[in-house]
C-alpha cells in the first residue's frame, strides 16, 4: 500500500538536521576532555611510536568518540588514533 511518509524522505527534513547536530554536540559534551589534554596525549603517543616506526605526523589523527556497547546499553567513550606509517624501522636486538 502507498505510504505517504515514504514519498517525502526525511533526509533533508529539519528534524534529521536537528538529530545530527545534537549527536555531534553531545559527543563533544560527553567527552569532557580539553583540546590541550588531547594535544598532550598526541605528542606523547607520537614520541613513543616514533621509537619503533617512522610515522606521518601530519596525518596523525587522534580523537575520542562514543561507541555503543551491548552490555547494559551503556555508552563509553573510545580513544582512537589513526597513525599512517611511513617506514618500519629495523630494530636491532
Amino acid at each position: 500500500m502507498l505510504d505517504f511518509n515514504s514519498l517525502f524522505s526525511r533526509k533533508n527534513k529539519s528534524s534529521s538536521v536537528a538529530k545530527d547536530r545534537l549527536k555531534l554536540v553531545l559527543i563533544h559534551d560527553r567527552i569532557n576532555c580539553s583540546t590541550e589534554l588531547l594535544e598532550m596525549m598526541r605528542a606523547d603517543i607520537v614520541a613513543v611510536i616514533s621509537k619503533y616506526v617512522d610515522i606521518d605526523t601530519d596525518d596523525f589523527n587522534i580523537e575520542i568518540s562514543n561507541l555503543q556497547y551491548e552490555e547494559g546499553g551503556k555508552k563509553s567513550p573510545v580513544l582512537s588514533a589513526n597513525i599512517p606509517i611511513k617506514n618500519l624501522k629495523k630494530i636491532n636486538h
Binding site: 500500500m1 502507498l2 505510504d3 505517504f4 511518509n5 517525502f8 526525511r10 527534513k13 529539519s14 528534524s15 534529521s16 536537528a18 538529530k19 547536530r21 545534537l22 549527536k23 554536540v25 553531545l26 559534551d29 560527553r30 546499553g73 555508552k75
Partner: protein, 265 residues
C-alpha cells in the same frame, strides 16, 4: 514506601513546574499523600501554577531556619485530598539553603507523605544541588529541541555522578503534526540519543496555558489530552504499565484522513 522525586531539566522553560504540579495532582487524585516542594528559591512559581499563591504564610526557608514548624508552612490544597504545597521563599536566594538542610527536610517530609515532588530550578548550580540532595529518583523533562535535549543529557550525567541512577525521561510539548512532516524530532529520536527510559510523552496542548491562567492543574480535567498524559505518567511513577497515548488524536486533518484510510502508523 515513600519516595522523593525531583523534577529537573537543566534548561529553563521546558515545563518542570507544570510537570511537578500535574504529576503531583494526578498522584493525589489516585489517593496518595503528596507534597509539592518548590525548590526554586527566589523565583517561586509552583504556587501560582497551582493557584495557591494567596495562601502562603511561611515558606521553605522559614522551615529550614526554624521560624516555623514544618506543618505550619504546608499549604493544604482544598480541591484535592492529600495534596500539599511547600512554597519557596521569594525574597531570598539559593544560598539560603544547603544540600544537607534540604536532605533533612525531605527526610522529614517522607515520614508523612507517599510522594515528595521537588520542583528543581533551571541550571546546574547550587539550586540544582539543593534540589537533588534528598532525591531517590528523578524525572528529567525535555522538549524535542536541540538545546533542551543537550541540557537534559548534561543533567542525566550530573544526576548519575550524584548517585541518582533511577532517572526517567518526560518529553514535553510534542507537536505530532510537526513530527509527522519531519520538522520536529520524534520521541524515538530523543530516547535513542539520551539512552534512558521514557516515562511519558506530553502533547503541546492549549489547555495547559488555559489551566495555568486559572491556576487549576490540567491533570484534573477529564478532557485535556496533556492532562491525560500527566495522569498516565503518575500511574507509571507508581509502577503500572500504561501504554503511551496515541497523540495522533490531535493531529491535523491530513493525519486523521490518513488514519481513516489506513495509511498512518
Amino acid at each position: 514506601m515513600s519516595q522523593v522525586i525531583v523534577i529537573t531539566s537543566g534548561k529553563g522553560g521546558v515545563g518542570k513546574t507544570t510537570t511537578s504540579a500535574n504529576v503531583g495532582t494526578a498522584l493525589a487524585l489516585s489517593g496518595r499523600q503528596v507534597v509539592l516542594v518548590d525548590a526554586d528559591i527566589g523565583l517561586r512559581n509552583l504556587d501560582v501554577v497551582m493557584g495557591l499563591e494567596n495562601r502562603i504564610v511561611y515558606d521553605l526557608v522559614d522551615v529550614v531556619e526554624g521560624r516555623c514548624r514544618l506543618r505550619q508552612a504546608l499549604i493544604k490544597d482544598k480541591r484535592f485530598d492529600g495534596l500539599f504545597l511547600l512554597p519557596a521563599a521569594q525574597t531570598r536566594d539559593k544560598s539560603a539553603v544547603s544540600p544537607e538542610q534540604m536532605k533533612k527536610l525531605t527526610d522529614s517530609l517522607k515520614e508523612e507523605f507517599d510522594y515528595v515532588i521537588l520542583d528543581c530550578p533551571a541550571g546546574i548550580e547550587q539550586g540544582f544541588k539543593n534540589a537533588i540532595a534528598g532525591a531517590d529518583r528523578a524525572l528529567v523533562v525535555t522538549t524535542p529541541e536541540v538545546s533542551a535535549v543537550r541540557d537534559a543529557d548534561r543533567i542525566i550525567g550530573l544526576l548519575e555522578s550524584h548517585g541518582i541512577s533511577n532517572t526517567q525521561l518526560i518529553i514535553n510539548r510534542v507537536r505530532m503534526n510537526m513530527v509527522k512532516r519531519g520538522d520536529m524530532m520524534a520521541m524515538e529520536d530523543v530516547v535513542e540519543i539520551l539512552a534512558i527510559d521514557l516515562i511519558g510523552v506530553v502533547p503541546d496542548d492549549e489547555n495547559i496555558v488555559v489551566s495555568t491562567n486559572k491556576g487549576e492543574p490540567a491533570a484534573a480535567e477529564a478532557n485535556s489530552l496533556a492532562g491525560k498524559a500527566f495522569r498516565n505518567i503518575a500511574e507509571r511513577v507508581e509502577g503500572k504499565e500504561i501504554p503511551f497515548l496515541d497523540l495522533q488524536a490531535d493531529s491535523n486533518f491530513v493525519g486523521r484522513l490518513k488514519k481513516v484510510f489506513g495509511f498512518g502508523h
